[in-house]
């Protein structure tokens, strides 16, 4: 019980962001339950309550696997009596609790609705099963992804395979697959298999990003056989011994794999929805360019002395590297986009040039946002993230989903202005960079 309470604290209360999410989510939930604002009909407070609950359970339900790996890597943990069992029990408890809160929210949202709109008991069990399925999937997938992202694809396929087979053979209603008994049973099976492995394995290794930070230096300095110029060595260090074309190739393969899965699952939905899903997913490339740039900013500290440059010269050089990576990733995404454009009949109404720009300009913004992370992270960064996400949604996903033929050039222009602002902000931050504080932050 005590371990469960500690895990609850880690899941809901460890970081300032989690505390804000929990508190704000609880406030929104309470407000929704007390005031029943007429947001839509027939579920009067549905969005408000789910917004509150969603914020509360966001981290524990969807990032639990990452926390579990972080807590499990210590060797000293192996010497704590029944430690792994307790951690697993705690993680399962949090999953159950989050799923119950989700169901409770459903009940609370429809509590004041007329009787004919209230969902039947069967609906609640379906929601519970769906939430638990998603929770276990995310816990296992993120546990694995935090070490080796490619294995996650296998987990997703294994989890979805029975439902997919039923779906293809027309046995079951597609909308009920996630909460259906077969899919739910598979989730339990995956969770049990994971638990057995987790309890039996001797050593659980640290997350991939932690490992790469250490390994990158060794690889870059020790196992590179051919002599390298200073710039080549700096570039290898910055990209963890990768190169811009290699990163582009990885993105190309990952995009093809993800879109392939999406096409398998969603090919029977209407064309607009499928286009919105697929191109919207490709626009997530902004997260990749942001993450790579952020990693470059973090690694730049080690280049401060060997680079032989002032910090602004160093920034200029790293910015060029970041743009090269963005270009390589952009080319990869562009190729996949054109493939989707060519295969996806009927084609979207908006022009291809706009479509590509609407995917790549947010990636450019995210690249500079990543470079900004070298120093002084704060509210501005959160606002920039929201602006980029909003740009993707309103400039790309929404026009595709609604089938609108009008390109949102105004939105694109706004994002270009945002890109320029972020670039200026990154430059300003680098000018006053405090390496020590950046490391602590």
């Amino acid at each position: 019980m005590s371990t469960f309470l500690q895990l609850l604290r880690i899941g809901f209360w460890m970081l300032p962001l989690q505390r804000w999410l929990t508190l704000f989510g609880a406030a929104v939930l309470l407000a929704g339950m007390i005031f029943h604002p007429p947001v839509n009909s027939p579920g009067p407070t549905f969005p408000i309550i789910f917004l509150g609950v969603g914020m509360m359970v966001l981290v524990p339900l969807f990032a639990g696997g990452v926390f579990l790996r972080m807590l499990s890597t210590s060797r000293a943990l192996l010497l704590r009596p029944h430690a792994r069992g307790r951690l697993l029990a705690g993680a399962t408890g949090i999953l159950l609790l989050s799923a119950s809160v989700w169901v409770f929210a459903y009940w609370a949202a429809y509590g004041q609705a007329p009787a004919r709109f209230r969902p039947p008991l069967e609906e609640y069990s379906l929601i519970l099963a769906m939430t638990l399925s998603s929770g276990t999937l995310f816990a296992v997938a993120l546990f694995i992804a935090s070490r080796s992202p490619l294995w996650t694809l296998l987990i997703i396929l294994f989890w979805q395979a029975p439902g997919l087979l039923l779906h293809i053979s027309g046995v079951e209603d597609a909308s009920r697959l996630l909460g259906g008994p077969v899919s739910f049973g598979m989730s339990i099976l995956v969770w049990v298999a994971f638990c057995i492995w987790y309890l039996r394995t001797r050593r659980i290794h640290a997350s991939a990003w932690g490992r790469r930070q250490d390994a990158g230096a060794a690889v870059a300095t020790a196992t590179v056989p051919q002599p390298a110029t200073r710039e080549q060595a700096m570039s290898r260090w910055l990209l963890a011994n990768q190169s811009a074309p290699q990163l582009g190739l990885y993105c190309l393969l990952a995009a093809l794999a993800v879109l392939g899965i999406q096409w398998i699952f969603a090919r029977e939905v209407d064309a607009e929805t499928l286009q919105a899903i697929m191109f919207g997913t490709l626009a997530i490339v902004a997260v990749v360019t942001g993450a790579v740039s952020k990693s470059m900013a973090a690694r730049s500290r080690a280049l401060w002395l060997p680079a032989g440059r002032t910090r602004l010269q160093l920034y200029g050089w790293i910015e060029r590297q970041s743009l090269l990576v963005t270009l390589a990733i952009g080319v990869a995404v562009g190729l996949v986009s054109m493939l989707v454009w060519w295969l996806n009949m009927p084609r979207p109404s908006i022009p291809l040039a706009y479509l590509l720009s609407a995917m790549l300009v947010p990636a450019l913004c995210a690249g500079w946002l990543g470079l900004m992370q070298q120093h002084k992270r704060g509210l501005l960064d959160v606002l920039a993230m929201i602006a980029i996400a909003a740009g993707i949604f309103y400039g790309l996903v929404r026009p595709l989903y609604t089938g609108s033929p009008a390109a949102r050039w105004d939105m694109l222009g706004a994002q270009l202005i945002l890109a320029v602002l972020l670039r200026e902000m990154a430059w300003l931050r680098w000018r006053s960079a405090d390496w020590r504080r950046a490391q602590r932050g």
Partner: protein, 293 residues
Amino acid sequence: MTSEAVIETRGLVKEAGRRQILKGVSLQAAPGEVVGLLGKNGAGKSTLLDVLLGFALPSAGDSRVFGESSARLSAASKARIGFVPQQDELMSLMTGAQHLALAASFHEQWDRALIGRLAREWEVPLDRRIGTLSGGERQKIATLLALGNKPDLLVMDEPASGLDPVARRQFMVTLLEIAAETNRTILFSSHIVSDIERVASHVWILREGEIAWQGELDQLKESTVRLLLRAEREFSAPLSLPGQLHCELNGCSAMVVLRDWTADRLPEIERATQSRAELVPLTLEDIFLAVHA
């Protein structure tokens, strides 16, 4: 296996690929002993500790802790062990207090008073996130985590390497107090020979995966001596005396380090080398260097 031994290994072998890291290590530690594990970099110290605690499986041989196989320690035995790794494995997002609270939740017995006292004495900032702490502060938290369950066996891998001299001295004093309080066994590896000399009652010296010496520190210092030999004529060839670890010739004088020393060997050596012998005191560091010469 001896029933009262806290740690006991027989012919322990650990291989990594084709390389043998441990080559038939046999050791024993009894309750109340403070054992210092000495060895050069890559001698196999951390691997030995890993196998002893069950983090890694031996390729051959047997390792037991509290009479149980290291690979299959029961929960009751685990509750009696504390471990401080060489590089702390703390979660950088958590604070020290959160780490301690989580660790305490795994144990039925957790000495909050001791941890509170040590945290104050060692000036550990428990309210700050681990990621913002210095290496020494993190090491102190890792040590607190190992002490909270009042372990009967405390194993530490280079526990004081990240501490400044003041903190290291304070740490060692505390270690001695803790060892003296109960019949607790402490096993710690270190490169800092003076630390081991100050607190250890027993020493294990590991050389290239083999035990070069194990036993009481006092006995080691008594049985290993340095002789300054002064002869009438120059020494023409290197000396080869029984138990000789190291020899330096310098014209008519020679400095030899001998093991398995007993006082009655002196006349015999003087006769054999045709010189006058003078005993020169040795520190543990001298012995360590001679063993690795």
